[in-house]
């Protein structure tokens, strides 16, 4: 009886430890700015045609799911895809989606710029920088994150236009 209970406790501890490290690793990836995921050609081409292909980790799975279900009304433009491409990209985004609560946009929103994580990371950026001719929009990651296309948002590759 005692041994059985200890086994159960052991297993529970391992499971909790494993889950905790997964969450920590995800957190660490977000904080360090390494957001690259295994490449997917459809995602890169389709999501990257009007803006950079934003890293899947920047939003939670259910936000990606909702976004992919309303591509014909995508932040004011029609970004609709054929069903096969949409299904493949949707699955890819959800597979590598962010798991942190901080990747969750403010109530009902789908904007990466409205996540707690984004707001925290960009708090020091003065309003003038956002309005800079080379930036213009917070959607324009590559204006400052020079390796954003490669999923690399580390500080060492950050060049804020003056």
């Amino acid at each position: 009886m005692d041994t059985k209970r200890r086994w159960t406790l052991d297993i529970a501890a391992w499971v909790i430890g494993l889950l905790a490290s997964m969450v920590l690793i995800a957190h660490e990836a977000m904080a360090s700015g390494r957001l690259a995921t295994p490449p997917n050609a459809q995602w890169k081409t389709e999501c990257g045609s009007c803006h950079i292909a934003y890293p899947p980790r920047l939003l939670p799975a259910q936000a990606w799911h909702r976004m992919m279900s309303q591509l014909d009304k995508h932040f004011g433009t029609d970004a609709s895809l054929d069903p096969a491409a949409a299904a493949e990209i949707g699955a890819y985004l959800e597979r590598y989606a962010g798991s942190s609560r901080r990747a969750q946009p403010a109530a009902g929103g789908l904007r990466i710029t409205e996540t707690a994580w984004f707001i925290h990371e960009h708090g020091e950026i003065p309003p003038a920088t956002w309005k800079h001719a080379a930036v213009r929009s917070a959607a324009n990651c590559a204006a400052c994150h020079t390796a954003a296309e490669q999923g690399d948002f580390r500080k060492r590759n950050l060049r804020i236009p003056k």
């Binding site: 009007c50 433009t77 029609d78 609709s80 929009s137 959607a139 324009n140």
Partner: protein
């Protein structure tokens, strides 16, 4: 006699492969135009050809909305454009400046579907698509 037995099927196979590859890869702007012409004839009464002038007018008008085609593709589509909202560079649209344009039917259809919806608030018909392509093909 014996060799012919091998050569004919091989030649036939090579020809079939070439044809398949040709169909998949070698679509030209003129092929798209032919497709739009067939659609326009099927769509309605009295197809009277495509007009570069009508296409240019459609391309540069805002149609009561915020954007025209030129908002992103510029009023001179032989030069690179820029997405009106995100600022992402867009390669030139005119085939004379960009050999990849209008060579992939699926890509052509996708762009017309989305962009007509954004600019005109509706789908474009085959006559309109052909007119715009006529205009783009007229640019040097």
């Amino acid at each position: 006699m014996g060799t012919n037995r091998l050569i004919f099927p091989a030649a036939g196979f090579a020809a079939a492969m070439g044809l398949t590859a040709g169909l998949a890869l070698a679509a030209t702007p003129a092929d798209q135009q032919k497709r739009f012409e067939n659609e326009a004839r099927a769509e309605g009464s009295g197809f009277g050809g495509f007009s570069a002038q009508r296409g240019e007018a459609l391309f540069k008008a805002t149609h009561g909305g915020e954007w025209s085609c030129a908002s992103c593709h510029t009023a001179n589509p032989v030069v690179p454009g820029k997405h009106a909202k995100t600022g992402k560079p867009i390669a030139p649209l005119a085939p004379a400046a960009n050999a990849e344009r209008f060579t992939d039917a699926a890509a052509v259809d996708k762009s017309f579907r989305r962009n007509c919806n954004d600019v005109l608030g509706r789908a474009c018909n085959a006559q309109e698509k052909g007119d715009v392509l006529q205009y783009l093909m007229s640019l040097k």
